[in-house]
C-alpha cells in the first residue's frame, strides 16, 4: 500500500489517531470514538493490520486492537500525530 492510501482516508487516520493515543481498544469502542459504523471500522482495521500498523489479540469472541509500536513506520506516524496535536 502506498503512503497516500493510508493518509488519504479520513476514517483510517481517525482510527490511527485513536489507537496511537489509547494504545488498545476493541472494535466497538474504536467505532464509537471515531464516529464510524462497525463494519467500516473493521475494514479499516484489516487494512491497517495488513500493513502492520496495528495488531490484534483475541479473547474468545472479543478482539482487541493495539497500535503496533514495534513497527518503525507506526512509530513515525505516532510522532507525527503527537506533534500535530501539540501544535494545534
Amino acid at each position: 500500500m502506498a503512503i497516500e492510501d493510508v493518509f488519504s482516508s479520513k476514517g483510517r487516520m481517525k482510527i490511527l489517531r485513536i489507537l496511537a493515543e489509547i494504545r488498545e481498544l476493541n472494535i466497538s469502542e474504536i467505532a464509537r470514538r471515531a464516529g464510524l459504523n462497525y463494519s467500516t471500522t473493521n475494514q479499516h482495521l484489516q487494512v491497517l493490520e495488513r500493513h502492520n500498523l496495528v495488531r490484534h489479540k483475541t479473547f474468545g469472541r472479543i478482539r482487541i486492537f493495539r497500535y503496533n509500536e514495534e513497527n518503525p513506520r507506526a512509530r513515525m506516524i505516532k510522532q507525527l500525530i503527537d506533534l500535530w496535536e501539540q501544535t494545534k
Binding site: 489509547i22 481498544l25 476493541n26 469502542e29 474468545g60 472479543i62 482487541i64
Partner: protein, 400 residues
C-alpha cells in the same frame, strides 16, 4: 483575629480505605493468611488456595486482607514474581460476578470492553491474560454475602472450576472470601462450601483496650500532637466496644469528633465533641455505605427520609415513596427512573439495611410494599444525603 488551626495533620489516615502499615492485634490472623498463601511466593503456579475471613462488622476483615495483599505483592515483586492482589467489594458490584470480573480485568486491561460477553467468557479471558503476562492473582471477594445472595453457588464454583479445567497449566487464581454472616455459607452447594471452609480465619471483636490501642495509633498519624486527650480516646473506645468491638465505627467517631472540634474552633478534641459526634454516626448506616450507592439510589433515600421527617406514621407505601422520589428528582433536575428500576433500588437498599420493607396486609387496599426507616432519624439521614449530594455535584437546584 488569629485563624484557628485544625486539630488534624492528616485526615486521610482516618479514611475508611486507609491501610495502616502495622496491623494492631491481628498478628495471629495475619500469620495464618501468610501461611495459607506462602506457596504463591515460594512455589508459584503449583497450587491455588481459598481462604475465608469471617467476623462481625468493624473487626478488621477488610484491612487484614488488604494489608496482607500489599505485603505479599511487595515480597513477590522482590522475587520477580508477577503477583497481583485485587480487592473487590461484591456489594459495590451489586453482587454480580460479571461486574466483579470486569473490575478485576480492568486492573490488567484498563480499556477492556465493558459489554458483549458473558461472565464465563470474561473469566476465560482473565485466565488468558494471566497466562500471557505470566501473572498470578489473589482475588479478594469482600462482602461475599452480596454475591451469594444474588447468584448463589455458581460464581464460586466457576472460579474454582476454571483451575481444575486447566490440568497442565500453572495455577494462577487464588481466592480470599470475606464474610460477615456465616449463615450465607448454607446457600452454597456442599462441595464449594467444604473447599471454602478448609481455611477459615475468624476475626474476634476488638476489646476496649485493643480499640484504644488502634485509636491511639490513628491519633498519632492523623492529629497534631496533644490535640486528643486520653479521656477522649477512652470514651470512643468504650463506645466502639459497646457496638460489638467495632473499630470502623470508633475511627469514624474519632474523625467526626475532630471535625466538631474544628467547627467549634477548639484546640483539643474534648469528650463533648465525641458526644456530639455520637449523635451523627449511626453504626447501622455507614457513611461509606451511602457513598457507594448510585445517584438515584441516594435521591430515592432522600425522598424517603423527607417523607418520614414530615410524617408521624411508621410506614410509607411504595406509591408514596415514588412520589417523594419524583419530587427530589425535580429538585435536583434529574430524570426520574421508572417503577421497575425504583423497585430494584428498594431491594438493594433493603438488603443494605438502610430501609426495611414488608408487604401490606389487612387495612390496605390491594397489595403494596410498605417502607420504613426504623433505625436512623430521618432528619439526620436527610442532612447526610444533602451534604453528600452537594459534594457530588453542586447542591440544590444546581445539580450536575
Amino acid at each position: 483575629m488569629p485563624r484557628h488551626s485544625s486539630v488534624f495533620k492528616d485526615e486521610s489516615k482516618l479514611d475508611i480505605n486507609y491501610v495502616p502499615q502495622h496491623l494492631l492485634h491481628r498478628k495471629l490472623q495475619l500469620n495464618l493468611l501468610n501461611q495459607f498463601f506462602r506457596f504463591v511466593v515460594e512455589r508459584p503456579g503449583k497450587m491455588t488456595q481459598r481462604a475465608l475471613i469471617m467476623g462481625k462488622i468493624g473487626t478488621g476483615k477488610t484491612v487484614l486482607s488488604q494489608h496482607f495483599g500489599l505485603k505479599i505483592a511487595k515480597e513477590a515483586k522482590q522475587r520477580n514474581i508477577n503477583l497481583n492482589y485485587v480487592h473487590v467489594n461484591c456489594r459495590e458490584c451489586k453482587g454480580s460476578l460479571f461486574m466483579i470480573l470486569q473490575r478485576t480485568m480492568t486492573k490488567f486491561y484498563p480499556t477492556f470492553p465493558r459489554r458483549g460477553y458473558s461472565a464465563e467468557e470474561l473469566l476465560q479471558a482473565l485466565m488468558q491474560v494471566l497466562d500471557e503476562k505470566d501473572a498470578y492473582l489473589i482475588l479478594t471477594l469482600d462482602e461475599l454475602e452480596s454475591l451469594v445472595g444474588n447468584e448463589g453457588s455458581d460464581p464460586l464454583y466457576n472460579l474454582s472450576r476454571i483451575q481444575e479445567d486447566r490440568l497442565d497449566a500453572p495455577k494462577r487464581l487464588s481466592l480470599i472470601c470475606i464474610l460477615r454472616q456465616p449463615d450465607c455459607l448454607d446457600k452454597l452447594d456442599p462441595s464449594t462450601r467444604s473447599t471454602l471452609q478448609r481455611n477459615i480465619i475468624q476475626m474476634e471483636e476488638y476489646s476496649e483496650s485493643q480499640l484504644e490501642d488502634i485509636l491511639d495509633d490513628r491519633v498519632n498519624l492523623a492529629f497534631r500532637d496533644g490535640t486528643v486527650p486520653p479521656q477522649t480516646l477512652g470514651i470512643i473506645a468504650e463506645l466502639g466496644n459497646s457496638e460489638g468491638g467495632n473499630a470502623r465505627y470508633a475511627i469514624e467517631l474519632l474523625w467526626r469528633a475532630g471535625k466538631y472540634a474544628d467547627a467549634l474552633e477548639m484546640q483539643q478534641v474534648l469528650p463533648e465533641c465525641v458526644r456530639k459526634a455520637v449523635v451523627s454516626v449511626y453504626p447501622v448506616v455507614r457513611r461509606d455505605m451511602i457513598l457507594a450507592f448510585s445517584l438515584h439510589e441516594k435521591l430515592f433515600i432522600l425522598g424517603v427520609a423527607r417523607h418520614f421527617k414530615k410524617s408521624d406514621s411508621a410506614y410509607m407505601s411504595m406509591g408514596e415513596a415514588e412520589e417523594a422520589y419524583a419530587l427530589v428528582c425535580e429538585e435536583y433536575d434529574e430524570k426520574r427512573r421508572g417503577h421497575t428500576q425504583i423497585w430494584k433500588y428498594v431491594k438493594a437498599l433493603s438488603a443494605a439495611g438502610i430501609i426495611e420493607t414488608l408487604v401490606s396486609g389487612v387495612g390496605q387496599r390491594g397489595k403494596t410494599t410498605m417502607i420504613s426507616l426504623s433505625r436512623v432519624p430521618a432528619s439526620d439521614l436527610e442532612q447526610e444525603l444533602v451534604k453528600l449530594l452537594s459534594q457530588e455535584g453542586g447542591g440544590e437546584g444546581q445539580w450536575r
